[in-house]
Amino acid sequence: MFELGRRLADLGIMGINRRNAEFTLAYNPRRYYPLVDDKLRSKELAAAAGIPVPELYGVVQSEYQVRRLPVWLKDRQDFVIKPAHGSGGEGILVIAGRCRANYRTVDGHLLTQEEINHHVFNILGGLYSLGGQTDAALIEYRVRFDPVFDHICYQGVPDVRIIIFLGVPVMAMLRLPTRVSGGKANLHQGAIGVGIDLATGATLKGVSRHEVVAEHPDTGHSIRGLVIPHWETLLDTAARCQELTGMGYLGVDLVLDQDLGPLLLELNARPGLAIQIANAAGLMHRVKLVEEHLQELPSVEARIAFARRYFAVKPPPAP
């Protein structure tokens, strides 16, 4: 057992205790958390900085507004309802279309207006928020993902998670919804995480739960070697989020829309650790390298160049 622990430490695998004690607690000032935890605020912040985000259709702040929902949604064929303070992808409802008075979810279920209202009430009551405080429900643009992902995606929207440490991208993965995950892109719900070569944006192996996989379980297509379009833009957007929020250790979730290109979906102050399995690499060596060379990386461009050079699949020896 200690042997296993030592080998993992040699590989630079970051454990949850280390992430909490030495990264989120040390580099993420508590006062900036609301910027990240409140999706409405991060959205406004990003929009103000010129970072494209999914268009916000409306915000439901209190119970009486729920009555107006049918009017608000009257002209919308598809949209997403999500809690402003949700975590881990909980409470997100994706409506893909209408069927007379009813709403159709991505997996084909029909929901009545009453069921939609109930979901919004649950969000407002704080069911999905951290600590159960009252929350707001965001209604926003449903992303139509880039056709490059057509073969390796089952319902839902695949997204790209990039971990940014002190402004430098240190690791990235593509998250693919599966039948098990119910169209959600969260790994603990059963989505597949696929490692990404930071240098090229090409996908590596995938991880489902705790196993390494090479194909998408629902479509059967290989998930390796796919080059993610707009890779430079994705890295650039993610890297700029550090200055935006003041968070030193940040997970940035981005989506690729077929019409609008890269959009910032949400930010995460406590990004998960499964990304290490997807990339078959540990985070510790990479963040240490960033800590050592931070002074030499004054600009976003320099940081991205550093990341693409040293965090590639076959990196040159560390400087």
Binding site: M1, L4, G5, R7, L8, A9, D10, L11, I13, G15, I16, N17, R18, N20, A21, E22, L25, A26, E63, E90, E114, E115, H118, F121, N122, L124, G125, G126, L127, H188, Q189, V207, H210, E211, V212, L273, Q276, I277, A280, A281, G282, H285, V313, K314, P315
Partner: protein, 512 residues
């Protein structure tokens, strides 16, 4: 993040805690473990009788402090009765009297008795007086023959008494003895006969009546013993073996031929004696026994609190221990539970239900609550009203379970009421959300994790040694605090993470 600061602080806290603890152990002789002997017993005599609408007077013998037991904290519970206590010969008695009483009367005498072992007699030794034994006619002849017989087979008073008891104990006594004993001899009549025969032989003897202290809530039988006066002190003789000495747990209640309680002006007199062990007063016992020096320091400790508050603190001081255990389970091992400290509260409830029943009740309550919660889900209630509804259902389920288990004769079912219902409600709600969001596997996994954590917390928090340690040495909490703070900076792997990232250790690292 300055680690030195943390280490220094933790070191100071641990040093202060351990130092105080060591000082109390080494210099003040505080016992490190609860110890088997340092028990205090609560003894109770319950007297009931029917009063006949006339003046009633009840006299009850009460135990008195001897060199073996100290009697403290006496209480006489009697409404409307006048009370006089008096010492008469070797006995102490309480007399209750009332001008007029009607119907069933219940009086209580309660006291704490503490095992002590003083060398010198506490009470002045009664000068032995030999009453003229009331043998007559044939009895006298037989008794004389018996005395001659036992005197011939013994060297001194003690061996004579032993010989006599041996003969009295025979299952088939010879005709002479049978004549003296009469039909259906009882232990008491045997002892009284022995005392009379010994008196005839010129040895002062008396019968002692008392109880053997053991954990038994219902009526304790009165056990009769023999004492002979042997060179200045009264020497107890075991009625069964004839050997001198008396068991440690024998509490003498009264001596002599009179019965335990006497009543005038009433009928249907009943007296029951009972005893319960008072574990909590172990330290007080030590104080009474004079083992702990400087009781001054005790004035500023938890031991100076009333017994009832001490009980509360005994439990409260276990909560940090449970919290510490959860730190280990969650941050070192990585077990996931519903709610951070929920298992500690469940473990507290397990104190009353005991572990096995606790697990059964908890699982049943959560399972039933969960199924009703799933049904409520279809009604699309708002969050807070739904939580309140689940709370109401949980309370009703608890009541129903108590009623059913009571019907089935399972006494433990009543203690289900002590489960923290708000915590249960939140557990059910969280579990149903996890069930829907992440599937039954995750929900049941976390549920079992909580149950496992609660069971472990129960085992640790219910440990008598640990309870004693933290109650007598509350400064150990400082050590616990230091350890918790050090664990707060533990950044190594959790045990479950080793399993989670195992696949990475198998793949040869790409960088090399």
């Amino acid at each position: 993040m300055n680690r030195t600061h943390l280490y220094v602080l933790a070191f100071i806290l641990a040093a202060v805690g351990l130092g105080l603890c060591l000082y109390k152990v080494l210099a003040l002789n505080f016992p490190l473990s609860p110890g088997a002997e340092s028990y205090t017993w609560n003894v109770e005599a319950k007297v009931t009788f029917m009063a006949g609408n006339e003046p009633a007077k009840l006299t009850l013998f009460t135990p008195r402090t001897t060199r073996r037991y100290a009697v403290t904290n006496e209480a006489f519970v009697s409404q409307g009765y006048g009370l006089v206590t008096a010492i008469e010969d070797a006995n102490r008695q309480a007399s209750w009297s009332i001008r007029q009483a009607n119907g069933l009367q219940t009086l209580y005498y309660r006291a704490e008795v503490v095992r002590v072992n003083t060398r010198d007699p506490v009470n002045p030794v009664q000068p032995p007086s030999i009453d003229n034994p009331s043998f007559e006619g044939a009895d006298l002849t037989v008794a004389r023959a018996l005395v001659d017989h036992i005197r011939g087979r013994s060297a001194d008073n003690e061996t004579m008494a032993a010989e006599l008891l041996k003969r009295l104990k025979q299952p088939q006594p010879d005709d002479n003895l049978a004549l003296l004993l009469g039909k259906n001899p009882t232990d008491r009549s045997r002892m009284e006969l022995a005392a009379k025969v010994l008196a005839l032989a010129g040895v002062p003897a008396r019968v002692v009546h008392g109880i053997v202290l053991k954990e038994q809530k219902e009526r304790l039988p009165v056990v009769h013993w023999l004492e002979i006066h042997n060179h200045k002190v009264w020497q107890a003789i075991d009625p069964n073996t004839g050997a001198p000495g008396i068991p440690d747990n024998y509490l003498a209640w009264w001596r002599g031929p009179l019965s335990l309680a006497r009543l005038t002006g009433g009928s249907d007199l009943r007296v029951t004696l009972s005893a319960t062990r008072e574990l909590e007063a172990a330290i007080n016992t030590a104080v009474v026994r004079g083992q702990i020096k400087k009781p001054l320091l005790l004035n500023f400790s938890l031991l100076s609190l009333p017994l009832h508050s001490q009980q509360v603190y005994r439990v409260l001081l276990m909560v940090p221990v449970g919290g510490f255990l959860l730190v280990l389970l969650r941050n070192i091992i990585g077990i996931s539970t519903f709610g951070t400290f929920m298992p500690v509260l469940i473990a507290l409830a397990f104190r009353e239900t005991q572990l096995l029943w606790g697990i059964v009740f908890f699982s049943t309550l959560v399972a039933l609550g969960l199924s009703i919660r799933f049904y409520l889900d279809r009604l699309k209630l708002l969050l807070v009203p739904r939580l309140a509804a689940v709370l109401i259902v949980v309370v009703m389920l608890m009541a129903l379970m108590s009623i059913f288990t009571n019907r089935l004769g399972i006494e433990r079912g009543l203690s289900v009421a002590l489960f923290p219902m708000v915590i249960l409600t939140m557990t059910i709600e969280r579990m149903s959300i996890v069930w829907e969001e992440r599937g039954p596997y995750e929900a049941i996994k976390q549920g079992l994790g909580s149950l496992l954590a609660a069971s472990l917390a129960y085992v640790v928090m219910h440990n008598r040694e640990i309870q004693h340690l933290f109650f007598v040495f509350p400064e150990l909490l400082l050590v616990l605090l230091a350890a918790t703070m050090l664990l707060g900076r533990y950044s190594g792997y959790r045990l479950v993470e080793l399993w989670r990232f195992k696949v990475l250790a198998q793949v040869p690292p790409k960088e090399s």
